[in-house]
């Protein structure tokens, strides 16, 4: 257990889990407001390509991260306008977002395909704590975004459970008619959380190029992580801490491949690349059954546009 490769594997798993966690936490907020956004993959790609371009030309890590996140938020805003204001189908709008995001990222990314990025997030060591065996490298020698993600998951839990605003948000996702009659601004809350969801997805994409693989490649950058994030929200029963845990597990399973290869065990890469789609199918099965959905704890009004009924 104490071999260096295994500790490296654990440390890498944490890093690999961060973008999944960020994107899934964002999607969780949107879904808690009752809006399903299948555009996570598209928003992540846009965030990644924009962050890469900004990073390339400015050299500033934080600026790249912020602009990438905002790009994701902008795409989510389109989704909010279509589904909240115009009451379009959330499924159709979300899928279009992914198609659009993928297309645009390919187009913008053509010139930078395969280029490396000069700058990336570096780990910060927590003084003597980082020297502890195993836990040191895994927990106390990571980059700032890793810690920010953990803090975010805790904060969202607290927001949902303990605050007045969180209660309002949950009511909008459970029963918008009730929320409306209690004076809660349903549309405003939905817009807000869909856009925050997009910002987090954009940040997740940005982190992929800024923190993990400092290069851009159309196929390799997200490779279905957005779909995994979507599935994770369902498997985590819309609970932030479970999302975080699940994200690290997924990160581990992705890194395990490399570890096993290094150990001489050969796992077909195809198996791994199938994973997002298998999970998506599993989620759609759950989604298709009202009863299952209720049982796994889906917000009762998830996926439904809200029309105020005067009667």
């Amino acid at each position: 257990m104490n071999d260096g490769a295994f500790v490296a594997l654990l440390a890498a798993s944490v890093v690999a889990g961060v973008p999944i966690a960020l994107a899934a936490l964002g999607e969780l907020l949107a879904e808690r407001s009752g809006v399903l956004n299948l555009g996570v993959e598209g928003m992540m790609l846009i965030g990644a390509v924009v962050a890469f371009q900004v990073g390339n030309s400015s050299g500033s890590l934080w600026l790249s991260l912020v602009v990438g996140a905002l790009a994701g938020g902008a795409l989510a805003l389109v989704h909010a306008v279509l589904t909240v204001t115009l009451r379009a189908s959330q499924i159709v709008s979300g899928l279009s977002l992914t198609i659009f995001g993928t297309g645009l990222a390919t187009f913008v990314g053509k010139s930078i395909e395969g280029l490396p990025l000069a700058t990336d997030f570096r780990a910060v060591a927590w003084g003597p704590l980082a020297d502890l065996p195993v836990v040191g490298p895994v927990l106390f020698e990571q980059d700032p975004i890793v810690y920010a993600t953990v803090v975010l998951a805790v904060a969202i839990t607290w927001y949902l459970r303990r605050t007045r605003a969180g209660l309002s948000l949950r009511s909008v996702g459970e029963s918008p008619a009730t929320a409306d009659s209690m004076g809660i601004a349903v549309a405003r809350l939905r817009y807000l959380h869909v856009v925050i969801g997009g910002v987090l997805a954009g940040a997740a994409g940005a982190y992929l190029v800024l923190g993990q693989v400092p290069s851009w490649s159309q196929d390799g950058t997200t490779s279905g992580l957005g779909w995994i994030a979507l599935a994770l929200v369902v498997f985590a029963s819309w609970e932030p801490m479970r999302v975080l845990l699940g994200a690290f597990l997924f990160g581990f399973s992705r890194q395990l491949n490399f570890y096993l290869q290094a150990k001489g065990v050969d796992v077909p890469a195809e198996l791994l690349s199938m994973l997002p789609y298998l999970l998506t199918i599993a989620v759609l099965v759950v989604w298709g059954s009202r009863d299952l959905r209720r049982r796994v704890g889906a917000p009762a009004a998830l996926g439904l546009p809200y029309v105020r009924d005067e009667r």
């Binding site: 303990r162 605050t163 007045r164 605003a165 209660l167 309002s168 949950r170 009511s171 459970e174 029963s175 008619a177 009730t178 929320a179 009659s181 209690m182 004076g183 809660i184 009762a300 005067e310």
Partner: protein, 532 residues
Amino acid sequence: MTSGDHPGETATVSSPPSRGVVALAARRVTKRFPGVVANDEVDFELRAGEVHTLLGENGAGKSTLAALLCGLYQPDDGHIERGGQPVRLRSPREGLARGIGMVHQHFRLVERFTVAENVVLGDPAQPALLRRADIEARVAEIGERFGLPVDPRARVSSLTVGQRQRVEIVKVLYRGAEVLLLDEPTAVLTPQEAEALFTTVRAMTAEGKAVVFISHKLGEVMAVSDRVTVMRGGRVTGEVATAATSARELAELMVGRPIEAEVRRGSAAGGEGDGTEAGPALEAAGVRLVQGGQTVLDGIDLAVFPGEVVGVAGVAGNGQRELAAVLAGITAPTSGRVQVAGTDVTGGGARAARGAGLAFVPEDRLGTGLVPGLSLTDNMLLTRRREFLVNRRAARREMATAIESFEIKTPGTEAAARVLSGGNAQKVLLARELAGLGTGAGPRAIIVASPTRGLDIGAAEMVRGLLHDAREQGGAVLIISEDLDEVRSLADRMVVLYRGRVALEGPTDELTLEEIGLAMAGIQPEGAVAPG
């Protein structure tokens, strides 16, 4: 009696001087919806410490007035006054901020939230960080003070309808409402729950709060209110002090014309001996029905004799609907027998039941009872299967006679059934089903589900009269309804269903309301819970 015309007259009604302050008022408010004026220059005054009933038939405009008073709707004309000052309430939230709270006919609760969470939802007075213990303590305290026991930690999805209503009331009291608008609160309650609600209402007025109580049930109006404002067709037709009026006067204000003497349940026609000797016209023996793994009817024995009206009562979902379907032959029972006039029709379908002399008026009048797209004449012909060729001319004559004698409002015998209002559809159905009664060719037994549900007083009165006549002519009438008042006013004998079993049975006159209510709630008189 129109308050708008003679404000001086109504001002003389007695009410304690200390409670004279006008808490909330509507001044000549008008509210239009496409094609209908729901409130037409309505005047309404509510004084502190009083229970003021808004009485009117379905569609009279009561809920609309309440919505205007609480800020859900804004008047097209006229204005609302709170404490003597004109106010503009742009939302229920603004209404609540001024101490006006409404409990809707259809509850507004988040099922997955706890009671406490529902209570503080959207409350601007809550701190940004919710203090659960404080909230729960206050909910409990309010429950104590007004007789509204609720567990603040329970999830709403696990509560009964009566408990949910209490949560709704606690919710508005928590926000400090001084004026409460209760829209048809007793419609969903058992008699005992309604009685508890009246106690709560009195506790609230004792603290100086004012309550608007919306209802169309005359009995409870007389029991609970200090004053009554009657509405009809969007207008106020009168405002009276309860002490100075009678149920009859109120009924006339509601309908807009004198009411004939209420149909009395006389003693069963023909004396008890005759009918019993002839044997039951409709009989169920040990009827069990299992649907989707659930036992919905569990060994029902029931007999209806010629010349009597039997009523089946119970809280919705205790097997009434299924019993009607089994007796009418629509659903085959899992076990047990159904006989119509001595003929076993078990499993023979609706055709066998009708053939043996059973008539059936379903709850769903336009759809199951009448074919909406067919003319009245064609609907009349639907159940005549004796001749090969239809005699359209005779049917049309029959329909024309029915239209005349039952005062059915329709453009003519060839109008499509879909244009009929609920009351008129019911009259057409009864005309068809009761045709030939007592002549030997007509039905021997008739089942009517919710005979007067949704009908205005005039139509309900006529339907009661028709059923009464059917009994006089020796018909066996079975009424199945979720409305206890309806059953009690029509039936000679009553049966109460609880979880698919007969929980109570006896002559209507000999059963007390309390006994019936306990049976409906599944509680046996000794206090033990009925098996189920």
